[in-house]
Subunit: 244 residues, 4 copies
């Protein structure tokens, strides 16, 4: 039943989104101690959110991201369930997806609870949405999509290739890659690079009783889902050819 | 007599609080070279304070935090005294607690001495207290408690789970988790996540001859004690069930 | 035919320049989420760009930089092609150079695509050039050359010496050296320290259809090529004498 | 003759001061790309300067600091000359001291050359001195001395204790401790924590043809020499007792 893989992805992705949404809340919601724009702080926040999430999801190999699951599947790399190596198949991928989307939803709710009093403050509806989901700096679905494809390609190709460069950095390595992507490619779209990271918190935004919230910008919601999936597939294909 | 464990926790927690209170002093007290708000600086300061403290407390496994001691105790993980593994029992936990609270007090005094001339400057009494103890951005005992529970849960669950993800990061890993928590969950309460980190420096604030100091805000003092203890217990319980 | 070495350097240097040019674009081009000057962000961006690039170029030992190739060649250190160790010869160095310059061009084009909508915004032509190539803070070809020689010497001497200090940091170590050089020696010239990093993106700037672009400042272009090459040779010579 | 130890300390300390003085120059001298106050940038700059210096000084165990040499000597820890372990004796300590002071002087000269055109700009004489040597935020020889003693104690006690906490961080660990000390204890005095780091560059400042320079503040010069030596001795004594 792959229960270990499922719950592991739930725990890891919940940790990722709790900390990731948390850093945005800290920076954008009024009266927080970390209030004020600081892209380096945000980039480290998301990178270290991945770091923490990887530890929490050790039983499933810590995908935390449907684009990673897709990329490994395309590349033919194995999945994990508890101490077992399992085949990358459609049904196994579905278990990972389920864990990722459920975990991301739980993480968003926890971030809301941790910052409850700050959500009660007056702030722009778009600002409150920004704690949950990404949005473009300049709205252009085509180019926003391109940016998400490129950024996710870098992430997933790294995941596929990383096993070939021995180091003992463990979860720190992927955390630093996520910091790098945020610093370097996060400017135009806020770097979703992960469908679960964007879609589940957007659903949470729609459902939670957030004072003064506006719409959940569903017209943009397909970009941070489709872009990462395409980027992940392309990276998996290159990985299959180049990394043997 | 567990003298190694006691003195080890004293040394480690003193280092933690000397450096942790130090970064706050640097940022908030007038005329310092690091003066001015920078949440990333503060988050790295506390994280690296843990990093340094872990080295100093190698003989006891470096809890440095009653919430960590409680969490490991609940999870059934062993304690350490010098080179010996010891049972996680009530009396052993008391030795750790004693070392943690004594060490935190010493660290606060040393930070006061290192920044003596800057404490002599005019500054808001709340600012001077802030070098020692945490305080809420928006005072709401219930929600502040929730934030401390969630943030400490992340820390202690990581401590329990970390042994299962091999890496050679050593003390850097827990330091980065503390940086992550500060960046992502520190906005509402200043992330005590450690009863000794908050209570002992608060006592030091009450006792030390600080020019122009105000009250020590005892009405808030229970939150950064009770929240971390509850968060640590919950994390220890989940660890007991999930990490086997 | 050394195809593995060639394509590996292409992949690695493309990653390096995509992320490196990306951080500059994020910081200097209007409306980006990371807009605004932050030298620490830029220094971490380039350092982590190297980090990611090293993983992508694992089949060739990840030079990513003609000055590194020259320095290792002078020091007599081996090159790599797939799993094979190969001699550092003229023709092998040419293969590395080709991969580095081609990869850097591709990376610059990808960065342009990722930031396309932001290049469409109004900005100073020098600002848009700055995404691709370095330029001096105070134009003085002689002193700018000196700065590039010193900064590259630090990088390449570290590459030659690093094998003697065991650690398990892997690609993180060289990434941190690049962060260090950026922070400490990047002020006067923007630290090219790599002929491919500067020349190929400058060519891309000349060729790409960038709205409102100006000249590519060819009169300065020799400095970030010649300085790093001389710095690399000097470091290789000292390495040959001192590191035996 | 201990030539390996001498030249190793020269190379390492020159690297340390080149990069350390470099980051200050970048931040305080006009027209630099990193111009502007940023304590986190400065703290990372000095920490990574140590990181780079440790690699360059691998043949001598990389003290780079007379306070470290004194502390290890007092603690009874061995020194290194090339691949040989040597006794910590007076004459061996003198060789280390000589390498450290000579290297620091060379590093200061190199930093001057790298930033030559920026030293030619108008700036406050105290600012130009600040690239080379530390100075107090609030002048009070007694309390400045106390701060340097405490900060150096943390560094040297860590050096003595670090061998007992296995990790594979290598030079990164000491670099992070130096970052920690800068962030947390650097506010009052600018954290010399190293007699060679302060005295040799001060001599360089006195000798170099720096346009518009003022005095070298010799009345303060004893504090960043005596404070670190006393801090190093105290840490070595505690290390001798506690770390067996």
């Amino acid at each position: 039943m792959l229960l270990d893989a499922f719950w592991s992805e739930v725990l890891g992705t919940a940790t990722l989104i709790l900390l990731g949404a948390g850093v945005v809340a800290n920076v954008v919601l009024p009266k927080n101690k970390g209030f004020g724009p600081d892209w380096l702080l945000i980039s480290f926040g998301w990178g270290l959110a991945v770091f923490a999430g990887v530890y929490a999801a050790f039983k499933s190999g810590a995908h935390l991201n449907p684009a990673v699951t897709v990329g490994l599947w395309v590349a033919g790399e194995p999945f994990h369930d508890g101490g077992q190596v399992i085949e990358p198949t459609f049904s196994h991928a579905m278990v990972y997806f389920a864990g990722e989307f459920v975990g991301a939803f739980i993480g968003a709710v926890l971030a809301f609870l941790a910052y409850k009093k700050h959500f009660d403050q007056d702030a722009d509806p778009a600002t409150k949405l920004g704690v949950f989901s990404t949005g473009p700096a300049i709205r252009s679905y085509g180019w926003n999509f391109v940016t998400e494809v490129i950024a996710t390609f870098v992430l997933v190709f790294w995941v596929v290739a990383s096993g070939k460069t021995p180091s003992q950095l463990g979860p720190l390595a992927v955390a630093l890659i996520v910091v790098a992507i945020g610093i370097s490619l996060g400017g135009p779209t806020g770097y979703a690079i992960n469908p679960a990271r964007d879609l589940s918190p957007r659903i949470a935004h729609a459902l939670l009783p957030i004072p003064g919230k506006g719409g959940s910008d569903w017209s943009y919601a397909w970009v941070p889902v489709a872009g990462p999936i395409i980027g992940g597939i392309l990276a998996g294909l290159l990985g299959r050819v180049w990394i043997s």
